[in-house]
Symmetry: D2
Subunit: 138 residues, 4 copies
């Protein structure tokens, strides 16, 4: 078992993401996590957009964020994602948001695989088992 | 030909809608317009959600907003919508946003009817012709 | 010690809140929580907008959501909020999102009081101590 | 008088930006415009974040978008911005959104310079007159 793969993206803070406190509103961090998760999935060799077209969804069942310092308009932050746990039907991702050397926020999301045809939980699609296990480092 | 029907809704400004200027970010007004448009459609006797399920979409082809004064967190604004023009394949809506006696913004949107099965423009569905004509006051 | 006060609001799902999965995108729930929290604060006799003007902020330090079923465009959901724990410098709120008899999501947020003049953590402002203690049921 | 400068950015469509129609919700385009406008301002030698800190705002007074085709999750679009007209107190920007060779949307925004200290309209700050005139190609 090796280290999980970690995808890292840069996000330029949008003016629309700030609130009257002068920092990024906290509800935007899950959206940034999703961008990093998309980048991580891409490393499996399959875009998440393609995975959906192929008939499976990774539905979010839990999302948590801890905030340490606020990102500001003018900042470009780095967001990274990795798979922390993976089971046959579920995946747990972890995230970090950095502004240079400062950790602004951490978070995690739980997901369950859903079959689009039945709208019901299912096992990870066979063709993704190996690539996602590699991402997870297991 | 009579006056067009006007639907009016109340919207409580959300903290997340403000930006660091201390007012509602301008990109939120089209979202409020949509709430008022939904309320107006409901007056036809058919929820827009049902219209979509029945197989038709009102796709936005143009959206314009003029801003006079900023809405603020703590405000509850009134948003109204009416149909300004209606043709066999298109509809034009107009909107106003008020804070008590003060007009904060006006706007308009153009839409084209789309058939979900073909994803192509089409005529207004037959069952909506009469109710929407009444809304339009024509 | 009595039961904490629970504020309840109705939220009409916005089309813009849905995503291509056909349900409300998960990042919108913290925004709904905030609306319910605003309603709860109002019960203290002080609007949160006024509390900010008076020089204090309730900064979010943690936010968590558990999702059970997706809200859809066409739904009007009920969101409630209560104070679960309160200390001299921090507050923890809990939330529920219901669609009639169906619990769609639960969540919680942690906050710290911030003085706007210093931008630093502080104790709950004196004038809010008693009203917020009553909300918390302690 | 030469051609106006045109800033171009790439935007990866976010899942949260899609709606149940399967395309990017129309209210997100003004947010993308803002990213391109920020990139254009940067070419003046002054970040818009710095311009605000220095005491001036470019308040939006009008925003219009025309939609030709929908951007989708999985797309990376190109958004460009240029100054179309500039007067002592106002600026008009124009925008285009492209997906490879396909023009998805066009738009424009009007802005007025606001002094933060007075919250009132004012002339373009002296230090920006020359750099912005160059951007405008006049």
């Amino acid at each position: 078992m090796s280290e999980p793969a970690r995808a890292e993206i840069e996000v330029e803070v949008r003016y629309a993401e700030t609130d009257q406190m002068g920092v990024v509103h906290h509800a935007n961090y899950p959206v940034w996590f999703e961008l990093a998760r998309t980048a991580l999935c891409r490393r499996s060799g399959f875009d998440y957009a393609t995975i959906e077209e192929n008939g499976h969804l990774l539905m979010v069942t839990r999302c948590a964020v801890e905030y340490r310092a606020g990102a500001r308009y003018g900042d470009t932050v780095t967001v990274n994602a990795c798979i922390r746990r993976m089971q046959s039907r579920t995946i747990n991702f972890e995230y970090e948001v950095w502004r240079e050397e400062e950790l602004l926020a951490t978070g995690s999301t739980d997901h369950v695989w859903i079959s689009r045809s039945t709208s019901r939980p299912c096992r990870i699609p066979e063709y993704l088992r190996e690539p996602f296990s590699q991402l997870a480092g297991c």
